[in-house]
């Protein structure tokens, strides 16, 4: 019980008649980097939004670090949404200040170090940045919190390979053995080696929850190859 950071029980979410999540049970452990993998429309984003209180479950419940979703869980979860929500008119350093005011666990020096590494000028207005650079800024903000659980919804979708390598390096470098990171993606090949566990999700059901090396050992395949096989149309 103690080593569980995230758990849900009989969790369902419907949008009208469409069932996005169909009574799932899942427990995620502390200190792990977990891949939430599934094709588009499988329920990944719904699961992450429910975890961050942006949606309410139709049935069932989620607990994070022993709490129901609310103020207490928002303190410990650092969330990277699929789409940017940052105010376009602000300068990068103003957003850093905003985060510093907003989150007790935010470390501005970490954020400025990463901005420097990625050669992003804090004086620039967000509006003037490319799509990929905006995504990097957002990920930097999220990774600069000392959270217990990071939930990253498609963090590497729009960035170039060099930035992707830097992002993965950043995730490993800032890794705190107590914290967990959930990364949702369909670009498995790029992040496979940094994952410890994977959860396969399809049509609102959990297909499998296993360690990467277990799957490689049992199937003699990479997660990427196995994924393609499981989800073959």
């Amino acid at each position: 019980m103690d080593n569980i950071i995230w758990e849900c029980e009989k969790l369902s979410k419907r949008y009208g008649k469409k069932v996005a999540l169909d009574g799932i049970d899942l427990r995620l452990e502390k200190g792990k980097i977990i891949g939430l993998l599934g094709p588009n429309g499988s329920g990944k984003t719904t699961l992450i939004k429910l975890s961050n209180g942006l949606l309410a479950p139709s049935r069932g419940k989620i607990r994070i670090d022993g709490h129901n979703i609310g103020v207490e869980t928002k303190k410990v979860v650092s969330y990277l949404p699929e789409r940017t929500y940052l105010e376009d008119g602000l300068k990068v350093y103003q957003i850093v200040e905003l985060f510093q005011d907003f989150y007790e666990d935010f470390d501005a020096s970490v954020a400025y170090d990463m901005l420097k590494d990625l050669k992003i000028n804090p004086e620039l207005r967000l509006r003037t940045l490319s799509k990929g650079t905006k995504e990097k800024v957002q990920l930097i903000l999220v990774m600069s919190r000392r959270a217990k659980l990071y939930m990253l919804d498609e963090p590497i979708g729009g960035v170039d390979p060099a930035a992707r390598d830097y992002i993965l390096e950043t995730i490993i470098k800032n890794y705190n053995p107590e914290a967990s990171i959930v990364i949702s993606t369909h670009l498995i090949h790029d992040i496979e080696t940094i994952l410890e566990d994977v959860v396969f999700i399809q049509d609102g059901h959990i297909l499998l929850h296993k360690s990467v090396d277990e799957i490689r050992e049992e199937e003699g395949k990479s997660i990427d190859e196995y994924f393609r096989e499981v989800y073959r149309c």
Binding site: I172, E196, D224
Partner: protein, 127 residues
Amino acid sequence: MAWEFDNDRPIYAQILEYIMVDIVSGKYNPGDKLPSVRELAQTAAVNPNTMQKALTELERMGMVHTERTAGRYITEDLEKIQRARLNIAKKHAVVFIKKMKELGYSKTEINDLLQKHIELWEAEVNG
């Protein structure tokens, strides 16, 4: 530069082999301190827990040992290192021989071919 991994085997086993080669080839000397788990994980671009698992296995094999809180060190047992080196070399040799047999080469032909290519290779390396 991230390490390259084959698809069909566990990552921890391949990390273990990389570090083994670094030990037997002399990249690390006997008694050298290994970088921390985090540093190694970053270099290899792998999950720190997977790196930890590989190191634990190397420890079980006696190739590295932990000094309380001071970190991990390469074994000073030279004989052990030589044995590990020979084992790795043997494995490569067996794979090579199997492939040559598949191509229908005889023992003498394999020997001649090896001899010739060692000389070519040395000539190239020495300019």
